[in-house]
Assembly symmetry: C2
Homo-oligomer: 419 residues x 2
C-alpha cells in the first residue's frame, strides 16, 4: 500500500468516454491497495473556448476575471470524473483549489503555489476516498480564484504529491514515456526507463513537450519521483504503480543517483522555434554588443545563442544571434530602428534554422562529447552556425533542411539507437 | 441614489454580444447613481450541455458532483460580465456563491438558501463597485458547491436583494412585463403596471412563465419589490430604475396595499398541462375517495381538480379528477391496477382539456365573479367540466378546443382589454 498521485491532461479527458477510461486507470490503482489523488485538466478544447470568450469580451481583460472564467473548465472535469468513479464503485469526491486549499500568490493568470494544506485530503485517503483535484488553479490570499498559467496541471500534480508526501506522481499523457529523441524522426528512438531531473528540465525547455518545465523544477526541489505513463493503453493492461517489479512501461524522472546505468548522453532534442539574425559589418569596438542587445532586452525579446566572429581587419566583424520565431519580425524592427546607433552595414534574417541539443548528466564527467558531435556533423557536411553549452548539454544551430539527418546521426553516434 | 439588484437569465447572456448589452444595462443604472448587484444565469444552452455530460457519465449521479459540474456555467458568465463592465469603465468584480457566501442547506440539486452575508458586497458598493453574482448556486455547511434547482437564479436575485436591503430587484427577461393574459392569444392583452405578490404567485403556478414560484414566495415574505423588465430593448432607451417617475416600462410585483387602483380581476391564465381521468359508475359509499386517491398519492402523482357527481340512485356515481399530463399514463395504470378494490365500471381518460384560471386579489371583497364567469362561458356554449376555487382565483376545466375563445371571452368580460 502506498500513496500515489495521478495526473491526466486535456486529451485524456476530452470526452465523457475518455473520462470513464480514466476512472478505470484510477480503479486499477485503488484495487492494488493504493491511496490515490487524481489531478485533471479541462476537457481538450474547453480552455481555448473559454479564453476565446474572454478575448471577445475585451482584448485587455482583468486577469482575476480571466481566471474565474478559465478555471471553470477543470471544475467540470473533476465533477464528471468523481461521478464516473462512483459509478464503478470507487469512493471519490471532487476538490477545487479553494476547497483544499491550494494557496497561491495573486499573480493572476500565472500564479505560483505558496502552500497546500494536505490535511483534509489525507483524512479522506484514510477513509478509502479518492481525491479528484482540479489542476491548474488555486486561491489567492484575497480569496479569488487563480490559475497557474497554461500547462499548469503538471505543476499542480507535483505540488500535491509533495504536500501529501506521495510515493510517486504519475503523469498520464499521449505517449508512454520520455524518448531518447522524437520517434517520428528517428525510428530507432528508445524509451528511457529513467531520466534525471536536470536532464528532463533541459529536454522540456529545449522542445520536448512531455512535461512542463516548472513541474520538473518543482519535482527536483521536493524530490518527487515523477513517472510519465500512457493514458491511451487499456487501463487493465497496465501494471499498478509501485507493483514491486521494475517492468512498468513508462519513464521515471528521478534523482541522478537513482539511475544505475547512466549513459553519457540521454537524449537529443530539437527546436524549430528559433530564428537567426545576422548583422554584417558591425564595427568591432567596445560597447557594440550593449548597443545591439540593450534595445532587444527593453522590448522583452529573449536572445538565446550569440556568435561574434573574430574580426579580420580589427575594424569590422559579423554578429549572429537567435530569437524565438514569434519575436523575429519585432526583433528586425527594433534593430533596424537602432541602425545608426549600432552601426552595421546589413541585417540578414532567417527562419530556416533549427537548434539541436545533446543532453546528458554524464557529460559532466566525460570529455570529448562536443568534439564527437562536431566531427560527426562535419562528416555529413553539416555546417554549424552557432554553439552554446551548459554543464549537461550542447546546443548547435544548423540549417533546418538538415534536421532529420543531424538528429539521426547524433542519435547513432552516442549509442542511443535501440537494438 | 439607491441600491438595486438586477437579474439576467440565460437568453439575456447567451453570447458575448448579449453579455456586452447586459453591461450597458448595468452602466445605465450606475450612471444614474445607483449601487448595483447583478445576478446572472449560465449562457443559454450551457446548463443543458453540462447536465447532459453528467447523465452520460452515469444515469444516477452523485448530487454533490452534479452541482460541482453544473454551477460552473454561472461562474463563466460572472467573469465575462465583469470583464465587459470593466471594458466600458464600470468598476466590477465577480462573486461565486462560496465567496460571498450564499449559505444553503445540503439538499444538493435543490438546495434552499439559509443565509447570505451581505457585508462584503455592501463594503464594495461603497467603493462604487458593481457586484456580479453567480445565480442558482450557494455553498453547503460542508463547503461543497450547491445549486438551487432549475430557474433558481430568480430566487438568488430576490434573496440577495433582501440580504443587502435593496430598494428593488429588477428581473430582466424576454418580455417587458406581466400581461393580463398571453398576448399570443389575446391581442388586446395589457401589460400590468403593478401586480400583488399573491396574484403573481397564482399566475406563476398556473402557467405564466415570467417568474419562478419560489422567488415570488421569497419576495412576498421579505417584502422585496420585484420589477419585471425587458432585456431586449436598447439599454440606453430604458429609464434607470427608481428614476422618480412612474412611467417605467415593466411590471412591479409588490404588496397589495401599494396598488392604488386595484382591479377585481388582474389576469387570466391557462394551462394545457392537465389530463382528465373519469371513473364511470363508482360505488357511492364512504371510503371510496380514499381508495381512489390513496394509490395515486403513494405513486407521487399530484391530483389537482376533483369532481364527484351527485348520485342519482344513491348507489353509483361518476368521479372526475385531473393529473399533470406527464403523469397521465402512470395514473391510468395505478387506477387500473386497483380496479377490484375501488370498484368502478369504466375508466375514461383525456388529454384534450385545458385549465383556465381567473386571478385577482379583488375577488376577496367582490361577490359574483364566479357567476359572471359561468354565465359568459355558457353564452358561448362552453361546457365546464370541473371547478376549483381559492380566495383569489377560480379555475375551470374545459375542452381544449375552446381555449382561445374562453380566454378572450373572460378577458373581455372582466374589463381587461386595452382601449
Amino acid at each position: 500500500m502506498a500513496r500515489i498521485v495521478m495526473k491526466f491532461g486535456g486529451t485524456s479527458v476530452a470526452s465523457v468516454e475518455r473520462i470513464k477510461t480514466v476512472a478505470r486507470h484510477v480503479a486499477r490503482e485503488v484495487n492494488a491497495g493504493h491511496e490515490v489523488a487524481v489531478i485533471v485538466s479541462a476537457m481538450a478544447g474547453k480552455t481555448n473556448e473559454l479564453i476565446g470568450w474572454t478575448r471577445e469580451t475585451a482584448p485587455l481583460h482583468d486577469a482575476r476575471e480571466y481566471d474565474t472564467v478559465v478555471a471553470s473548465g477543470e471544475q467540470v472535469t473533476t465533477g464528471l470524473l468523481a461521478i464516473a468513479l462512483l459509478e464503478i464503485g470507487v469512493s471519490a469526491r471532487s476538490w477545487q483549489g479553494w476547497q483544499i486549499p491550494i494557496s497561491t500568490d495573486d499573480a493572476h493568470g500565472a500564479a505560483r503555489i505558496t502552500a497546500i494544506n494536505g490535511a483534509a485530503l489525507i483524512e479522506r485517503f484514510k477513509e478509502g476516498q479518492v481525491a479528484v483535484i482540479a489542476g491548474f488553479q488555486g486561491v489567492s490570499p484575497k480569496g479569488r480564484i487563480t490559475t497557474l498559467g497554461r500547462g499548469g496541471s503538471d505543476t499542480s500534480a507535483v505540488a500535491i504529491a509533495a504536500a501529501v508526501n506521495a510515493a510517486r506522481c504519475d503523469i498520464y499523457t499521449d505517449v508512454d514515456g520520455v524518448y531518447t529523441t522524437d520517434p517520428r524522426i528517428v525510428a530507432a528512438a528508445r524509451r528511457l526507463d529513467r531520466i534525471a531531473y536536470e536532464e528532463m528540465l533541459e529536454m522540456a525547455s529545449l522542445g520536448a513537450k512531455v512535461l512542463q518545465t516548472r513541474s520538473v523544477e518543482l519535482a527536483m526541489n521536493h524530490h518527487v519521483k515523477v513517472m510519465v505513463r500512457s493514458s491511451f493503453e487499456a487501463p487493465e493492461s497496465l501494471a499498478p504503480a509501485l507493483s514491486g517489479n521494475e517492468g512498468l512501461v513508462g519513464t521515471l524522472v528521478c534523482d541522478e543517483d537513482e539511475i544505475v546505468e547512466q549513459q553519457i548522453v540521454s537524449g537529443i532534442a530539437y527546436s524549430k522555434d528559433e530564428a537567426k539574425v545576422t548583422l554584417v559589418k558591425v564595427e568591432d569596438k567596445p560597447g557594440v554588443a550593449a548597443r545591439v542587445f540593450g534595445p532587444l532586452a527593453e522590448s522583452n525579446i529573449n536572445v538565446d545563442m550569440i556568435v561574434q566572429n573574430v574580426s579580420e581587419d580589427g575594424r569590422y566583424t559579423d554578429m549572429t544571434f537567435t530569437v524565438p520565431v514569434a519575436d523575429f519580425k519585432r526583433a528586425e524592427k527594433v534593430i533596424s530602428a537602432a541602425k545608426e546607433e549600432i552601426g552595421y552595414k546589413e541585417l540578414r534574417g532567417s527562419n530556416d534554422v533549427v537548434k539541436i541539443s545533446v543532453i546528458g548528466v554524464g557529460m559532466r564527467s566525460h570529455a570529448g562529447v562536443a568534439a564527437q558531435m562536431f566531427r560527426a556533423l562535419a562528416d555529413k557536411g553539416i555546417n554549424i552556425q552557432a554553439i552554446t553549452t551548459s554543464e549537461i548539454k550542447i546546443s548547435i544551430l544548423i540549417d533546418a533542411a538538415y534536421t532529420e539527418l543531424a538528429v539521426r546521426t547524433l542519435h547513432s553516434v552516442y549509442g542511443l539507437d535501440k537494438n
